[in-house]
Symmetry: C2
Subunit: 348 residues, 2 copies
């Protein structure tokens, strides 16, 4: 493991994207969202993507200067063309638009197409809660990796979903996950670390369970979470993310561009219902009661959003560990661009 | 098993609720929603409730004549007081209001409080898809029965969630489930049938897994679905259903009234995005591809909504089987009210 630190990683990521043609503000924002994923413990959505996005820029999949454009709108909806810029720039514009419209319309939905990989959904829904809104996001990934319930073979993308709500303590409730049992990025990380994975996560190309992450890359596939119930969310992310927005479906495996996202988000203003203050107070009260429950043996009762906060506190203090393979890839692209990757290493 | 049929059950249910003071139109609608649950295979949400609601009317928990009232609204939101009438009447008014507002506003959300048990969420979200809208519903149940992830004891209600979308074939996608591994009603049904249940569904009062449904009634509790991922939906239904609407929280176990629902729903008009026709076509195309996937050994690949359709076709043809205990309870209240339960039995 190589120990890096957040501020250095942000600077390095910004330099990489700027060197590849991105305007500074866009480069900074994309780097910030990726580093935030590592801070929150989601290495599968983190700076691992510095070199991946770098490749995609070089191949013309990501147009680093491009701005998203709203092509249709009403006081409570917008339909956005991401124009194949950075996915993060499109997704942020979408949640900002939803939140802004919900300030006056109370609820707003925004759908988007032609969008590259947007990273971790929780970044955007958490941002909505910081504006005192409820945020929801359903996303499909145009890259089939996951089997349907009771079926076999690569069919759905990892199709994530996120719902986040504000609380009186400022610690938001954050549901945010891939609808596969494990995010595809977790397999990349396991492969990079030469580690095994739980055998109920994946099947090999002959439909057998396996603990070898390499079997996934050799024609295998991921399994969905939560049986028929998880399958419902998996399919909702497909129908809302892809079909409703006119984005490429998961099962369309044309590889150009790789892994586009169909994005659908909703912002809800608590003032339309019980009111912001009462909503936040009651939410914090519920969370306090849940966390006071007797834990299962050897466990701790947390609420969704806590694991991210715990990780962030720890990694801001101790640094962000990266597998050597990931660090090598980041170093390689940095050196190619004449940049010094060592600015990301933890000092002292 | 007693074999009944849908039309006779609807008539009997209507007569029961009318005899207990409900106006005919309300009685018919409530009976219709409960019978529809049995047709769809969800016996846990079906005519089992005829005598339960009957008791609640007698005890003054359900006010059978009462109408819900919108207490705050904008062009894209409404906040509704159910005034402790039939939950079904409030929930239908909510989804109707959301759909009507979404016709012009493109997206609308409605939250409601003072609402009795609304039955099966899929009834309302499916209705939204019949009006060519996407329907979503998040509901908490003010009756703690389910433990939090990694915790123990009765904490959450069975807190259901539903998302439904229209398709070109008219067969809607329907995600609709309790966020416990099993609906509480499934335990009532198992107890009525003197059957065992899968031992990962419940824990007894000492936190041990058990296959005896009676252990649940003796201080035990249900377990949530999908580990930390299912926990996200469970908590979203609590925060949106209860905290956002000002309804009684799940963990407030004052038993009066029993099992109220905090209800939050959203309607989304596809015209704001890719357009209704394109959305429905693409959704049907996705569903067709998913269902063409090779099934796991011994299984069939279905999409959410198919099991309900399969059950409905079969039960419209062969009748609706009811456990003897359920039939006895229905007969008992019918006879008390001077009604003839035999009108519900399947003829021939």
């Amino acid at each position: 493991m190589i120990i890096t630190e957040a501020q250095g990683l942000r600077e390095l990521g910004t330099q990489i994207f700027v060197a590849l043609g991105a305007p500074k503000a866009k480069a900074e924002f994309v780097a910030e969202t990726l580093v935030e994923a590592n801070l929150c413990g989601h290495d599968s959505h983190g700076v691992f993507y510095f070199p991946v996005y770098g490749e995609r820029i070089k191949l013309g999949h990501i147009h680093p200067k491009e701005n998203p454009k709203i092509v249709k709108e009403t006081p409570s909806s917008a339909y956005l063309n991401g124009r194949w810029g950075f996915g993060q720039i499109a997704a942020k514009k979408m949640i900002e638009t939803a939140v802004e419209k919900a300030r006056t319309s109370m609820v707003a939905a925004v759908g988007g197409f032609n969008i590259n990989h947007i990273g971790r959904l929780g970044y955007y829904t958490t941002w909505a809660t910081e504006q005192d809104m409820v945020g929801m996001m359903f996303v499909n990934v145009g890259n089939p990796l996951v089997s349907p319930f009771h079926g076999t073979g690569r069919t759905f993308g990892t199709n994530p979903a996120s719902i986040s709500t504000p609380t009186a303590t400022g610690e938001n409730f954050l549901m945010d996950y891939a609808t596969s049992l494990a995010a595809a990025g977790k397999l990349s990380v396991a492969r990079a670390k030469h580690a095994k994975v739980p055998s109920h996560w994946i099947r090999d190309k002959n439909d057998n369970p396996t603990d070898d992450p390499n079997a996934f890359y050799d024609g295998g596939y991921l399994v969905g979470f939560g049986e028929h119930k998880g399958y419902g969310v998996q399919m909702a992310s497909e129908l809302l993310g892809a079909a409703l927005t006119g984005s490429r479906t998961s099962m369309d495996d044309s590889q150009n561009p790789p892994s586009p996202n169909g994005v659908f988000c909703i912002a809800i203003n608590p003032e339309a219902f019980v009111g912001l203050g009462a909503f936040k107070e009651k939410s914090s009260e519920i969370i306090k009661i849940v966390k006071s429950r007797k834990p299962e043996k050897g466990e701790t009762v947390l609420v969704p959003g806590d694991p991210e906060r715990i990780s962030k506190r720890q990694r801001l203090r101790d640094g962000i560990p990266l597998p050597e393979d990931t660090w090598e890839q980041i170093s390689k692209i940095s050196l190619e661009l004449g940049l010094d990757p060592k600015i990301a290493l933890k000092k002292g």
